[in-house]
């Protein structure tokens, strides 16, 4: 397992290099550059612009620019944000905990609900409860997150006033106090539910169908023939098989944690990486944009690795070597 993991991580390096070339090229191909995002090109001396461009190395051959960027990048220097005038790494580091908190809460909600609803519906299919859960899930599957987000804000924040509509914490509170943490939970709950709605719905249906399918398997008949009680057959024999696919989704989910939050964070003006990404696009803050894109790519590869490792852990038929 350890050997496998190390090999997979080493295998990620060439992938990340390829991705970095793509990211760099895309940034180069996009209209404008960081400089024109920073100054007002219409009101600046053209000679000054030309000098600055030269100084910033924009006129060097492309491969030199790439090498300079990537070697800085590998030393943790992602460049300076043209918008905030501070290192991109600092901005990202500041936003990261919010996104991780949102992502983990969302995963927790997703898996708890999917597990509870899916195992109930799978054990009692075609009953009233199952139909109710199905109807609930179809809503979750049909509503895009930006619509669900807007509705959730409108109903639960504006009309009912149960949750705040934006931000990640009440800024008047002192950091580290109990009420500070309660406020963070309060702020994260609504976006976390909206962010997890789609996966909750699809994992619930997936688990339900998988349980129903496993109920008909030969090994279930064997367990019955041994005199194993029905509830134990569901709890151990069937459940242990049906969680295999759902657990491996977890790895993929970790990979998608940040990119999945782009829309939700923006709707809830939740100060995380996703929101930063979208605002950096409109502000042409290329250093930040490139760093986040690299981060997303790395997370996706990493998530796939986690998925494979989890698969190897929960399914004895899979050998990682």
């Amino acid at each position: 397992m350890l050997k496998y993991t190390i090999r997979r991580i080493l295998g990620m390096i060439p992938m990340l290099f390829l991705i970095s070339i793509v990211v760099f090229s895309l940034a180069k191909l996009m209209p404008g550059d960081s400089l024109s995002g920073e100054i007002d090109p219409a009101n600046t001396d053209p000679q000054y612009i030309a000098e600055m461009r030269d100084k910033l190395g924009y006129n060097d051959p492309v491969h030199e620019q790439y090498l300079r960027w990537i070697s800085n990048f590998m030393q943790g220097d992602f460049g300076k944000s043209t918008r905030y005038k501070i290192p991109a790494s600092e901005i990202i580091a500041e936003r990261m905990p919010n996104t991780i908190f949102l992502g983990l809460m969302s995963l927790l909600i997703t898996y708890v609900f999917a597990f509870l609803m899916g195992s109930y519906a799978g054990r009692k299919p075609y009953t009233l409860g199952d139909n109710f859960i199905s109807a609930f899930n179809y809503i979750g599957l049909a509503l895009p997150s930006f619509i669900a987000g807007v509705f959730a804000i409108y109903i639960f924040a504006f009309n009912l006033g149960w949750f705040p509509s934006n931000g990640s914490v009440d800024i008047s509170l002192e950091q580290g106090t109990l009420s500070y943490w309660i406020s963070r939970f309060h702020h994260v709950l609504l976006p976390a539910i909206v962010l997890g709605a789609l996966s909750t719905a699809s994992y619930t249906q997936f688990l339900r169908n998988d349980i129903i399918e496993n109920t008909r398997k030969d090994y279930v008949r064997t367990a019955r023939a041994k005199g194993t009680p029905e509830h134990k057959i569901y709890r151990s024999h069937i459940m242990r098989n049906s969680i295999i696919p759902v657990v491996t989704f977890l790895g993929i989910d970790i990979g998608l944690l940040v990119s999945g939050a782009i829309i939700t964070e923006t709707i809830f003006t939740y100060p995380g990486i996703g929101q930063l990404f979208l605002s950096s696009v409109t502000q042409r803050d290329y250093p930040v944009l490139m760093a986040i894109t690299m981060l997303l790519s790395f997370l996706t590869l990493f998530g796939n690795l986690i998925a494979d490792i989890l698969y190897g852990i929960v399914d004895p038929r899979i050998r990682l070597d």
Binding site: R216, K217, D218, Y219, R221, T222, A223, R224, A225, K226, G227, T228, P229, E230, H237, R240, N241, I244, V314, D315, P316, R317
Partner: protein
């Protein structure tokens, strides 16, 4: 031996069993008025082509019919004086695996892929006896040894996919005999295995039967197996028993034309076409069963015009040998008695 055995009370008695499946809202009998009994220590063979209702019969005894569409419609299944088809699922769970066990045709899929062999063996022990974890492990190792597995200490911690089909069937047998049941139902236990492995598994079953003195219902479509193993034979066709006899006289003197054809098919066993396919035609599906008359009439080489009108009775022709075919006087329904 057979004389002594006949005097004892039956271990299992099946009376007029009708098991049906609902298809598009109507019920169709897959097992039709089947009656037979088994005495302690007896091996009873059930033979017939595939689709004749052998598996449905055994699942009926185990009360393991697929929930929802399979159902015992009438009849009695009495095991040691207890009527199984009246028991609740919880009560039946105390009998399954302890007094009656079953092994299945498909060793490749009958074990749970995500649990170790040891876990699955110990499960049946924990279901039926108070036993510590350590003892259960020791006992499962001993059980594996008793079914001829050479490295049981290692195997308990392995998973089903690491074993061959023959090994898995041995594990299934170990599970089935773990609580020393009085009756073992073996539904085509060797059909999915290689020929050499088949012989070993049958040999094993026979040894276990002698050591534990249990009864076996051995289901097969291979009459060769019957000849080697069984005291008594039930020949099934399309959900009915059409001939019942002790094994010897069935081979010396088959009575039903279907049995004759089955026996005629034995030498062709190794042909690729399969064992019993040399009888022309196929077992009718549940929806296409003839309503009256002999169900074999359509394929019978000795068919007479009355065959599709008169439903033959299963009656004794000689001592211990019954047949259901109107070629025999005894099978003609008596006047005033509804068939």
């Amino acid at each position: 031996m057979s004389n002594l055995v006949h005097k004892e009370a039956s271990l299992l008695e099946v009376k007029n069993l009708e098991t049906a499946f609902s298809i598009d809202g109507a019920y169709y009998n897959a097992v039709d008025k089947v009656s037979f009994s088994i005495k302690p220590g007896q091996i009873v063979g059930v033979v017939g082509e595939s689709g004749c209702g052998k598996s449905v019969l055994s699942l009926s005894i185990m009360q393991l019919l697929p929930k929802g569409n399979g159902e015992i419609r009438s009849g009695e299944i009495t095991f040691e004086g207890v009527q199984l088809n009246q028991l609740s699922d919880t009560e039946m769970n105390r009998i399954r695996g302890r007094d009656i066990s079953m092994i299945f045709q498909e060793p490749m899929t009958s074990l749970n892929p995500v649990f170790t062999i040891g876990y699955q063996l110990q499960e049946v022990l924990f279901n039926h006896m108070k036993i510590s974890k350590g003892d259960a492990r020791q006992k499962s190792i001993a059980l594996l040894k008793s079914v001829g597995i050479s490295r049981p200490e290692k195997l308990v911690d392995e998973y089903p996919h690491q074993l061959s089909g023959g090994m898995r069937q041995r594990v299934m047998i170990a599970m089935a005999i773990a609580c020393q049941p009085k009756l073992l139902i073996a539904d085509e236990p060797t059909t999915a295995l290689d020929v050499t492995v088949q012989a070993q598994i049958l040999e094993l079953l026979k040894t276990i039967q002698e050591v534990n003195d249990m009864s076996i219902i051995l289901i097969t479509h291979d009459l060769g197996v019957i000849a080697e193993m069984c005291d008594e034979v039930l020949v099934m066709y399309a959900g009915r028993i059409i001939e019942r006899s002790d094994a010897e006289s069935l081979f010396y003197k088959p009575m039903h034309p279907y049995t004759e054809l089955l026996l005629g098919a034995i030498p062709k066993m190794d042909e690729e076409a399969g064992m019993l396919s040399s009888i022309e035609g196929m077992v009718p599906s549940l929806k296409n069963m003839p309503e009256t008359g002999c169900r074999f009439a359509l394929r019978c080489p000795k068919v007479k015009p009355e065959c599709s009108a008169v439903t033959p009775l299963l009656e004794e022709v000689e001592e211990g040998h019954s047949v259901s075919c109107i070629l025999y006087e005894t099978s003609m329904p008596r006047k005033g008695v509804k068939p």
